[in-house]
């Protein structure tokens, strides 16, 4: 009964979506407030029905109802409750349901919190949002129905892919989807503006918080996914330039560009057409990502589906939405009034430079991701484009961008003083050079490029701090003045500072991990010791530990440094009898920001076991930096300027005003 209710609720959501997609649009055309007013309630109702549908599927999973094909194929009655719930989106059908749930959630949020948007814009935005939802609900209902039943219910399910039975799966896909799908709002705003044929600085102020929200979640989702891969896949890699990773990284790059260009539009009423184009591109790349992951054109852990009808369906959606949006853009964009031009050396100019590099960098990732597919389709030749390609293309572009990052916030609007800014950044450049020289002097061997990149990372971090010092007049004015100015700084300024700082921190982690890691592969017998990077690991014994639906073969190692015991590491091999598969559980030990990483290989008949040990310097900074970026984004999101409808800031003392 419950699965049928879920199915029915989804059909109802589809019907409501059709109404929401057309009535408000017609109302906006006819200037009819009643028809436009239907947008809000239908958006909320659509969300409610999809939520019911999702709840029904979750209930089937929790109750282990194996008469539902989807539950049978992806669940097991002995699985811990948390993995029964996360199993809902650990498969193609369920994850698509989560996709539309989040899509409808964003629609409902605009309906509930967008009260002070102009009525026409609101109606159009919600209508466009609903087209997307309707298309994807239709996709689920026709090709990927999660509520199908089996006539004869089996007694036991086939269990979830062991790789996916991990706390990482509980958080990674929902976060990523909120980010991915959240970009649909900026897309809907862009299309609504094109339909109406007018756009102004206020539009940018309405779009920015939604983009920022999506960006925060996308950042978190990518970062969590990377950490998950790092600790579950057992060989210590955290980024593989895998097409699926690129699929989430490309929207991130464009969303980042969009955040910056929306600032220009909001403050200076320029770059309008470009901002609209970025909003369309960002969500288009999300759709392409969905296509790559869901259609099965790539085979990897993420591609649950290999059904060609699904691929063709999503491809059609892709063509309709991206093609339609770009065609509308080409037709209507000339109507949007162009903003003024500005001096190349100015805050605007710096933000344009940022956009230029981000979009080009995204272009190289796009080529690297799709070129193999295109080549295969055209010539049948199969190639693989791996990390070397991306390091050689994306890397240099991004490093140039990083050199420019500290300049942006220090330049004034309209007309900046490049020499003055360069002078103020002397300290940052100096610190960067000292760090570079220090690295050259202390680290022997190692790649030549690494110290340079570490220097750049230090420069970005100090540059972000200098921005803060400049704004608060720290070191120039008395401390009391500086503190009160710091308290009076808009939160978005803090956000910028933290986001740029986080970028530098992440870069530091990336260099540390990729250039200074050391690795040891060996076969050990109990009692033997292996040594790496000043650590000695003694293999104590093997043991077996039973779990709820698996069995662990655990190896225990005592870690010593200079004769002192610093801890115990216990990596394991986890066997899942229901799928007769084995998974490696690596053991991690944090030492400051660095980590020791130990994973087990095959056991030999004589009791020896193969192990792989890594020392990864500064690796934790990679994810710490992204957390700092996210905090920056969140602070910026709470800026009063972005709270639509918040009263205009009262005219306070001049000292309390932002220094711009």
């Amino acid at each position: 009964m419950i699965p049928e209710l879920g199915h029915y609720a989804l059909v109802l959501a589809f019907a409501i979506g059709v109404v929401q997609g057309f009535v408000p649009l017609y109302g906006a055309r006819r200037d009819d407030p009643v028809l436009m007013g239907t947008a809000g309630p239908t958006a909320v109702a659509q969300f409610a029905f999809i939520a019911m549908s999702f709840a029904a599927l979750t209930a089937s999973y929790v109750g282990s109802d194996f008469s539902v094909v989807n539950v049978f194929e992806n669940s097991h009655s002995l699985k811990p409750l948390i993995y029964k719930i996360t199993g809902v989106w650990g498969n193609h059908e369920g994850s698509m349901l989560l996709w539309v749930l989040i899509l409808a959630l964003f629609g409902a949020l605009v309906a509930l919190f967008g009260g002070n948007l102009p009525a026409k814009l609101r109606a159009n935005v919600l209508a466009v949002q609903s087209w997307i939802a309707v298309a994807f609900i239709l996709f689920i209902l026709t090709t990927s129905n999660p509520f199908l039943r089996i006539a004869q219910a089996p007694a036991e399910g086939r269990d979830l892919n062991p790789l996916l039975q991990d706390p990482g799966l509980a958080i990674h896909p929902p976060l990523l989807y909120v980010g991915y799908v959240g970009l649909s709002i900026s897309f809907s705003f862009a299309i609504a503006a094109l339909i109406e044929g007018r756009i102004d600085a206020a539009w940018a102020r309405w779009v920015r918080p939604w983009t920022l929200l999506a960006w925060i979640f996308l950042t978190l989702g990518i970062s969590m996914g990377s950490y998950w891969a790092y600790y579950t896949l057992g060989w210590g890699g955290w980024w593989f330039w895998d097409p699926v990773e690129n699929a989430s990284f490309m929207p991130w790059l464009i969303a980042t560009a969009l955040l910056h260009s929306a600032v220009v539009m909001e403050k200076r009423d320029a770059l309008k057409v470009w901002t609209v184009l970025l909003a369309i591109l960002a969500f288009s790349l999300s759709l392409i990502g969905t296509f790559l992951v869901r259609s099965g054109v790539l085979t990897s852990v993420h591609a649950f589906a290999t059904d060609p009808t699904r691929g063709v369906f999503i491809l059609v959606l892709l063509v309709v939405f991206i093609g339609g949006a770009l065609a509308l853009f080409a037709w209507r964009a000339p109507l949007l009034k162009q903003g003024g031009l500005f001096a190349p050396v100015s805050r605007e100019g710096a933000l344009v430079l940022n956009n230029l590099f981000l979009v080009t960098a995204c272009g190289t990732v796009f080529v690297g991701t799709l070129y193999p597919l295109a080549l295969e389709a055209l010539t049948g030749e199969k190639i693989s484009v791996g990390a070397p390609f991306f390091n050689a293309t994306f890397g240099p572009l991004f490093l140039i961008l990083l050199l420019a990052v500290p300049f942006g916030p220090l330049l004034a609007w309209k007309r900046g003083d490049l020499a003055g800014v360069a002078q103020r950044l002397m300290v940052a450049a100096g610190v960067g050079l000292v760090v570079m020289a220090g690295t050259f002097a202390t680290v022997r061997g190692g790649p030549v490029l690494a110290p340079f990149v570490i220097g750049i990372a230090a420069y970005v971090i100090v540059g972000a701090l200098i921005d803060l010092c400049e704004r608060t007049a720290l070191f120039r004015a008395p401390l009391r003045t500086a503190l009160s100015r710091a308290a009076g700084l808009p939160r978005s300024a803090w956000g910028t500072m933290l986001a740029h700082l986080g970028l530098g921190v992440t870069l530091l982690g990336v260099v540390g991990e990729t250039q200074f890691s050391s690795e040891l592969v060996a076969q050990v017998k109990p009692g033997q010791t292996i040594s790496l990077a000043g650590y000695d690991l003694r293999f104590d014994r093997m043991g077996t530990v039973p779990g709820p639906n698996y069995r662990d073969l655990v190896g225990q190692f005592t870690v010593q440094r200079r004769g002192e015991v610093v801890g115990v590491m216990a990596p394991s091999k986890r066997t899942f009898p229901s799928r007769s598969t084995t998974r490696t559980e690596a053991a991690l030990m944090g030492r400051g920001f660095s980590q020791l990483y130990l994973s087990l290989g095959d056991a030999a008949p004589d009791g020896a076991i193969a192990v792989r040990l890594y020392h990864k310097p500064l690796v934790l900074l990679i994810w710490l930096g992204t957390i700092v970026m996210v905090i920056g984004g969140a602070l910026s999101l709470t800026d009063r300027r972005l709270r639509v409808g918040a009263p205009k800031p009262a005219k306070g003392k001049p000292a309390m005003q932002p220094a711009e």
Partner: protein, 158 residues
Amino acid sequence: MTRKQRRLVLIGSSLAVLVLAVGLVLTALKDSIVFFNSPTDVIEKQVAPGARIRLGGLVKEGSIARGENLQVRFAVTDGRHTIPVTYTGLLPDLFREGQGVVTEGALDGTGTFKADSVLAKHDENYMPREVAERLKQQGHWRDDAQKKPGTAGKGSTP
């Protein structure tokens, strides 16, 4: 600065970045892509020793031999031709005889493939796509991956 000059600066810098990116992409495409080959391709195309390729196929039954210090020898086959492979290191969890595998490395002078990475299969039904296609073409495809007990009931809508 006049409007015209400003516009020129904008267009000029865009073009410069674009040219830089295209240059980087083209050089990288020349140097760092790797072609995928089945054992038959390797024989027929006479892949030169030292050229970096991916070799994919099935791990030949009974071919895995482990040596000292984590050295492994095995053979990759597509049914028509078989190529011996050597590798030093840990093998992925799902590396088994009779299963699909993709290795990356280069041939040495004696016709042995020295792999420096062996790609993991993600689950027991997963077959690297290139491998599956080549095997289908050559009639060695066994369709057991698709045989799921549940799919028989998939058509029965509630």
